[in-house]
Structure formats: C-alpha cells, structure tokens
C-alpha cells in the first residue's frame, strides 16, 4: 500500500468495528463492477463537461435477482461491446484536446504545440488519471499513456493530437470501465481486510449520486477521513444534502422498477393509438419525478408512493390521464382529485403500460411485477405443458373480461399455485388497459377490480395501493433492494440478522429513504470485504 501512506498513518485511529447494534455480515468478496451506462455518462460529464459527446453505444446490462447493479458485478464484456468503448474513448479524447475544449481542460500549455512536452503531458495525464481511475494512478501506471502521448506527439508533430492517445488509453482501461475494489490489511486486525479509502469513496458516490467521487470526497479519501466513523458521517451527510442525491435516487428507482424494459416496449398502434415513444419516455419521467419529489425532496414515508395522488404531468401525458395540462412543454405538478381512479405509482403509466402485452392488459404480468419487484417475492416459472386455449379466447362470449378468463384458467391445478399469488393483485388494475388508459368496461362488460393480496381484500386500484402501503414486505423489500443495489451483491444466507436490523432501522426512521440511505452508507456492512483469493482467512466470524 505504498500508494497511500496516509491510510497507514491513520490506521491507528480506525473505526472501532461494528456499532453496538449492527449485526456482523459476511462482507463482499473483492470484486469489480462494470460501470452502468448512466454511470459512464455521468463520469465523462463530471470529468470533462456535459457537452462532451460519447458517440458510441453500450451493451445491455445483466439483471441478476432483480437488479442490474447486482448483475454489474458478474457481467463481462463482449468483443463487440469493447469495440464501442474504444470508439467512445477516442471520441471523448478527441474532444478533450480539440481547439474548443483544450484551454479549459488542459491545465498547462506546451512549450511548443508541434512537439512533445513531457512536463505538460505528465501534469495533464496525472490530473485526469486520478479522476478517471477514481484514485491516483501510480507512476508505473502513468508510464504507458505518457510514453504513448509523447511518441504520438512527436510522430504527428502535434502535442494535443498525441495527448489524445494518452487519454484514450486511460478511458479504455479496466480501471475506468470497472469499479474495482482494492482491499488492504485492516490495521486493527491483520487477519482481516478492509477497503482502501478510495474504494470506499467510489462505493459511496456511486450509491448516493450514481456518479464518481467529487474532489472533496477524493480529498477526504486521501486524508484518511473515510476510515474514521465521525468524518465518514460528515461526508455522508454532505452527500445526502447535495442536489446530486436526486441523481442517485433516480438511478436506484430506474434499476429497481425495471425501467430498462422500456427500451424494448412496443404497443400495437391500431389498438393503442395513444402510445408513442414520447409517451413511454414521459411515463418514466413522471414516475421518477413523483418518487424523487415524495421520498427525497419531501422526505415522506416511502409507503406513500402507493397512496399519494401528487404527481407531475406533461401535456402528452395529460391526454392519456385525461387531465388538461396548460403548459405545452414543461412539466406541471398535479394532484389527482380524491374521486379520481389514479392514486399511487401502480396506477401510473410506467407501471400499467410496462407490465402489459402489446395489445392487451395483463393481470398476470402486473401481479407478477408487484410480487417480484415491489415485494421481492420471486414467482416460479410456469410449467411447460399448459393448455390455455379454451379460457383465453377474448371472443368467447362466456368469458368476456380478463377476470372471467383468468378464473377459468386458475381452476387448472398446475396453474393455480402461481396464478393465485399474481392474478388477484393484477386484477385490481384492470381498470387500466394495456396502454394504461382508464376504462370501466371490457368487451362491454363492467370491470370488477376487486381482489386480494396476502389475505387483505381490496376493491379497486386505490385500495390495492393502500394494501401495499400496509404490507410489511413492501418496506423490507425496499431496504433489501437498496442495500443490494448499493453493494452490488446479493445477501448470503447468514445475513438474516443484518437484514432484520436494516428493516428495523428503516421502520424507526419512519420509512424515510434518505435515512435508510444514511444507515446503509455508514454501516460496516456496506464496506465490509472478504478476500476472494484466500490469502487472508475469512474476515468475519
């Protein structure tokens, strides 16, 4: 750990282990998470400015046990995927050194712009390597990009053109594209590992801001402040108070609510002429604005997302919700009336249209989404040999509504087990068609939106929202998911006590999400690592 002498210096003043009430965890094996598309974009924007264009595209992420963030810890990269990263690296590097940006971004001027300039190249690359790698680069690590920048500058007769190759190498590096944990021996117990302060800084900032560490956080890491509980708390509080928290919360909800599925969402234009790519975009934004406003800005009880009537609309969305929106372009705050069927995020388009077929609503898909996403209860896959045909014909005069058809389907023993945990939930949303539009009838028959969830009966979407609000699994799921998202890993079987403890902390905080984020960000579990190679024996217990 010669790179970080400060850490050794502060080694004696370390965290005194777990807080009195936090149960031990197994910790995360030292690993590396691939930056998500949003994280990559944010990093480039933070480091070089928001006007830098990427000019490439990203491989789709991998969802593992419900979260892309967990998949980020297992996903590799295909040759076609890396090709795109290299295209982006070159495009970004080219812009950083171009005439438009160089004065603002390059911290020095070469003595002669037609020749290599070792001093200026070194100053530039070491400054940016620290931001790109989210830690200082070692001399050895700088040798290659520097030598490349100098060689290319000489051969091209252009200092800046040469520098671009050095930048491209930093951006193509796994040290940028992956967030790799670096562990060091815990000064308080040489049988254990702990994350280096820079690794902690990355964890914190990607969790709370979905962005790389800012200058202040890197400074705090360098000064060893993230290894001391009190100064760690100071940093976490600073980050929670920052407007960037909204970014972090949005990124979590995009992942948690499976909004990546919007990328391939299609609706039949003849059946749902109201649907468009613009509507799909606005639908996501509506829910994100609703959530951020409620749980971050107002610090409301998380459970209120299922019962709140407050939201934001565009004129486009107003057409679907049948609400006049005065502003042509802007978002407007709106509160649905007490007798309006729209209440809570389940009745928002981002839920009803995402969890439906291209030409039809689906109580099963919606029930499955409530179970798996919002309650963290996986539904088994369907049996292979099922006969749906008799009961699923929407033109069958005996079974006009989805309820009629599903009831008949559920009488088959092989299907009943799973459908009874999905359909009675989804039926509560049958007043919303496959494009999320409110309706009172289907095929001429009135819709009965009553149902049941975990023994609680409800009569419509509103009371379904209330039932979810009151369901203890709702908050436990959010707490679990937020931690798994933050740490990029699943829980081990031995971490039940810790999960209970976290749920308890959440409850005691009145289910306020910023408090839950603070609890996680300052917990020992969040930073706990165990060796992946076995060079130090299991760190915990």
């Amino acid at each position: 750990m010669k790179l970080f002498p400060a850490i050794v210096t502060f080694g004696a003043i370390l965290l005194s282990g777990c807080g009195p009430s936090e149960p031990p965890t197994t910790g995360t094996p030292v690993s590396a998470q691939r930056l998500s598309e949003a994280q990559y974009r944010q990093s480039i924007s933070d480091i070089f400015g928001a006007d830098i264009k990427l000019g490439g595209r990203f491989e789709p992420g991998v969802r593992k046990n419900g979260l892309l963030a967990v998949g980020g810890s297992v996903v590799a990269m295909s040759p076609a995927g890396f090709e795109q990263y290299d295209i982006m690296a070159r495009a970004i590097a080219g812009q950083v050194v171009d005439a438009k940006h160089r004065d603002a971004l390059i911290p020095c001027k070469p003595v002669d712009a037609t020749k290599p300039d070792q001093t200026c190249a070194q100053l530039t690359l070491s400054k940016y390597a620290r931001l790109i790698y989210r830690r200082p680069a070692s001399e050895k690590e700088l040798e290659e990009p520097l030598s490349l920048a100098n060689g290319a500058a000489a051969s091209k007769g252009d200092f800046y053109a040469g520098l671009a190759f050095g930048f491209a190498q930093l951006l193509d590096s796994p040290n940028f594209i992956f967030r790799k944990d670096v562990a060091e021996t815990d000064p308080s117990d040489s049988s254990k590992l702990r994350l280096t302060a820079y690794s902690k800084a990355s964890r914190l900032s990607f969790f709370l801001w979905n962005a790389p560490p800012d200058g202040e956080l890197l400074r705090a890491a360098e000064a060893g402040e993230l290894d001391r509980r009190s100064s760690l708390k100071t940093q976490v509080d600073r980050m929670l108070a920052s407007p960037r928290l909204e970014n972090g919360a949005r990124a979590f909800f995009v992942d948690f609510l499976n909004f990546d599925q919007f990328d391939s969402l299609a609706k039949d234009a003849a059946i749902y002429p109201v649907f468009s790519a613009k509507i799909a975009h606005d639908a996501q934004e509506q829910t994100l604005r609703t959530l951020v406003d409620l749980v971050i800005t107002e610090k409301a009880d998380y459970r209120d997302i299922f019962t709140s009537r407050k939201t934001y609309l565009t004129r486009n969305l107003g057409v679907v919700y049948q609400v006049p929106v005065a502003s042509e372009k802007d978002w407007e705050a709106h509160e649905f009336a007490a007798n309006d069927p729209h209440v809570g995020i389940l009745t928002q388009l981002s839920f009803t249209e995402l969890h439906a077929h291209p030409g039809r609503s689906s109580s099963t898909l919606r029930g499955k989404a409530v179970r798996e996403i919002l309650l963290c209860e996986p539904v088994p896959s369907p049996p292979a040999n099922v006969n749906f045909t008799v009961v699923q014909d929407t033109t069958n005069p005996q079974f006009k509504t989805a309820r009629d058809r599903l009831t008949a389907h559920r009488t088959q023993a092989t299907c009943a087990g799973c459908h009874k945990i999905m359909d009675p939930i989804g039926l509560g949303l049958e007043n919303f068609d496959g494009a999320g539009q409110y309706r009172q009838t289907e095929n001429g028959a009135p819709i009965d939106a009553s149902g049941e969830i975990d023994g609680i009966k409800f009569t419509d979407a509103g009371s379904l929202g209330q039932a979810l609000h009151d369901n203890p699994a709702t908050t436990a799921c959010l707490a679990d998911s937020l931690f798994r998202y933050a740490a990029g890993r699943d829980f081990d079987a031995g971490e039940k006590d810790w999960r209970k403890w976290l749920a308890q902390q959440f409850a005691e905080a009145g289910y306020k999400m910023p408090d839950l984020m603070r609890t996680i960000a300052t917990s020992d579990a969040f930073f706990a690592v165990r060796p992946a190679n076995g060079e130090i024996k299991e760190a915990q217990r």
Binding site: E59, A76, S78, A80, G81, E144, L148, D268, A269
Partner: protein, 445 residues
Amino acid sequence: MSVNFNRRRVLRGMLGGGAVTLALPFLDCFLNTNGTALASGRPLPIRFGTWNWGCGMNPQRFVPTKVGTDYDLLPELKYIETVKSQINVFSGFKALLDGKPNLPHISGMQALLSGGVAAAMGPMDAPTIDVLVGDAVGTDTRFRSLEMAATGNPKHSYSYRSANGFNPAEGSPVAMYARIFGPDFQDPNAADFKPDPNVMLRKSVLTGVTEQRDDFMKQLGQSDRTRMDEYFTSVRQLEQQLELQLQKPPPAEACHVSAKPTDAPVGTEVGMVMSNHKLMAEILAMALACNQTKIFNMVFSDSASTLRMPGEQMIHHLMTHEEPVDKALGYQPKAAYFVERSIEAWALFVTTLASIREGDGTLLDHCLVMGHSDTEYARIHSISGIPVMTAGNAGGRIKTGIHVSAIGEPITRIGFTLQQVMGVPVEKWGMGSMQTNKPVSEILI
C-alpha cells in the same frame, strides 16, 4: 518496460519518417504479430453461423414424411423449395432434461446450443457452438463474430462465451452497416494499400491496456478473473482487428460493397422484422464475402417470439398458448402464420448467401448455417423434436438435401457433428445423458 520503450521509439521514428512506404515484413516485425496475417492465395474461408426463429412449428405441417434425399415439403416448409437441395432437415432430435424442469423456451435452446440444460432460469452456463467454432477457426478476420437481431433488440442473442459473457446483437441494419463498412473498412480489392499511422497508434493504446492485466487481476477471485479475462480477450480482439488493418488484405473476388441502407423503423411488428432481416442478411452476406468475419448469429425472432401483427392483441408467443386450435384445420392459424413467415425468412437468408458467386461455387457453398427454433410445438413447449436445419455444405465437407429423422436421439448430436465438420477438435460433447460422440453420419461425406 524496456520492450515497450523500444516499441514506442520505433513507432516515433517510423511515423515521423514517412512509414507508409515501409514493406510488410518490417511492419510484421514492428507489430509483433502472432502470425495471423492472411496469406494471399489461401483457400476460401469456411464460415459458420446460426439462424434462430422462436416458437417452433406445427409438426404435422412441417416435418417431412419422407427421410433421406427427395424429402417432401409440407405447408410450413414449402418456402425452402428453391434451395431445398442445399438444406438438410433434422427431425426428432430431443433435448434430454435428466430430471430438470423443462424451462419454457429456454431448455431447448440451451440443449441445442450449449449441450446442457440448467436447473433454473438463467443464461447459458457453457459456451455456445458458435463460440466453440469461432475459437477453433481462429480470429484472423476483423470481427470475431457478428450477432444480429431483426427484432431490433440487442438482448435477442443466444451467443454466450460463459454465463456472464454474452454477445449482444446488432439491432439496426444502419448501425450494422456503419460498423462493418464504415471508415475502418478496407476494401480487399483496392489497388493501393497504405497502412494508416493512426491505426498503429490506436493499436499501441490497446497494447498498453492489455499490459494492465496482471495488476488488475490482483486480489480478484477466480470467477472475477475469468470474467476479466473475457474483457482482456475483447481488448485483444480489437488489437488484432487493427493488426489486420495494417496489412494488405488478400483479394476477395466476391466482395462488392453494397449501398448503405436507409434508416427504417425497427421493432417487432412482423413486416418490419421481415424487411430488417432482409437488409441484415444482405449486409452480412457482403461482410462474409469481404472476409470481415467467419462466425455469425442471426436472430429472426427471439426464443419466445415477441413478433406481432398489426391490430392483434396477442404477440406470436401468446398466440401459441391462447389461440384456439381451429377444429377444421387442426392447428392455430394465426400462430402458424408466424411460423410460415419465419421459414420464408430463413429461405430468403439462404438464398441471399447462395446468390453470391465465390470461387467455383457460391458463398453458401463455403458456409455452414444452422437454422433452428427453441421448441417443437410451442403450445406445449415440446422439446422432443426441435426443428433444426443446416444450409450450405461447408466447402464440400457435408452432403445436403437430406432429411434425417431420429427418434429420441439427443439433440447434441447435431451440434457435435457441426463442430467436427468445422474443425473443432472435439471427441464428445454435451452434458449428462446428452453427452455424445456419435455424429449424424447421414450427412457426412
């Protein structure tokens, strides 16, 4: 580091001194290549690819009643009539589950492509045939492989190096064209050749990245090392692409770059898919003729087909389960429509490859393409006779125009045979009771 320093120094001197006139042997030496250069006058490459459509077929309308040559074409297969002599049809080969559940639309694909089935939903956890063949036939082309999805969804790909090493698909003909025939494309038939000094520098960028491997691997566990090795392999692949760009490509007589396609909507509506598939097939055929890759995977529709018809409430997959069987016809007519469009598209794909003259035959003659689905009869997710076909004779290595009928034989026999035909040194393949060392001898020369 001294080696690198020397390399850089040479680079600097070379670029500064009008290196573009340097002879190739010097370039080879400079680039420290590993002998992957395309020698002029070598035999035409043999390409391997897969072509997938989702949700199977209706056996009584698809499976030929006659075996061997001169097999008959029932209504769902009649579309291949003009290329029938170049297509083999395999029926009755089975995915064996060894007590594991039949995961709808997944188990069949896993068995056929990776030789084993998983116990629970998830990705393939063994490499797929295209990757195994690719590793054997080498990477002396610009792209290790090309994956395409006519549905426009990059997730619609079934090519895996490992459970976490997924090869996503190209979803747009325009983007696919730009990637292959954009500024980095070198016309193999161009009269003059000048290595681009920028390409040398780009290659140095990547060499420096691969040199970070040992440091980066520190502290990582075995599974992370494996996945990071996939990353470094991807970097190395691009490095090799650039190496190739520094050498004059051998002429390819069949290479005539087609015009750039115009931007068109991409999506799952079947007409859109048919038209994008046609464009992609044409671009791919040209990429193969121009030696840009030897491995490809085309997805016409995903394994639980999301194709749809305008104005229909149900997508193809849903239809296979929920459309009533027409009592008079004996099948689901709307779902069957999608099967027929799929086979029509497969025939078009094969015809596209066959329409390009190459050597003393056609491009198709130097290909081996496995066309297949994920299920037999999708309504019940049957996997006892998943439809599989091959097109092309792999440069005369197999017979074509044959219907091979099996009863309950493991479906891995097909993948095993194709690997051997493509030169993969494999003695047996498949997991559990699907392990086989028995090729489908009916098609072997």
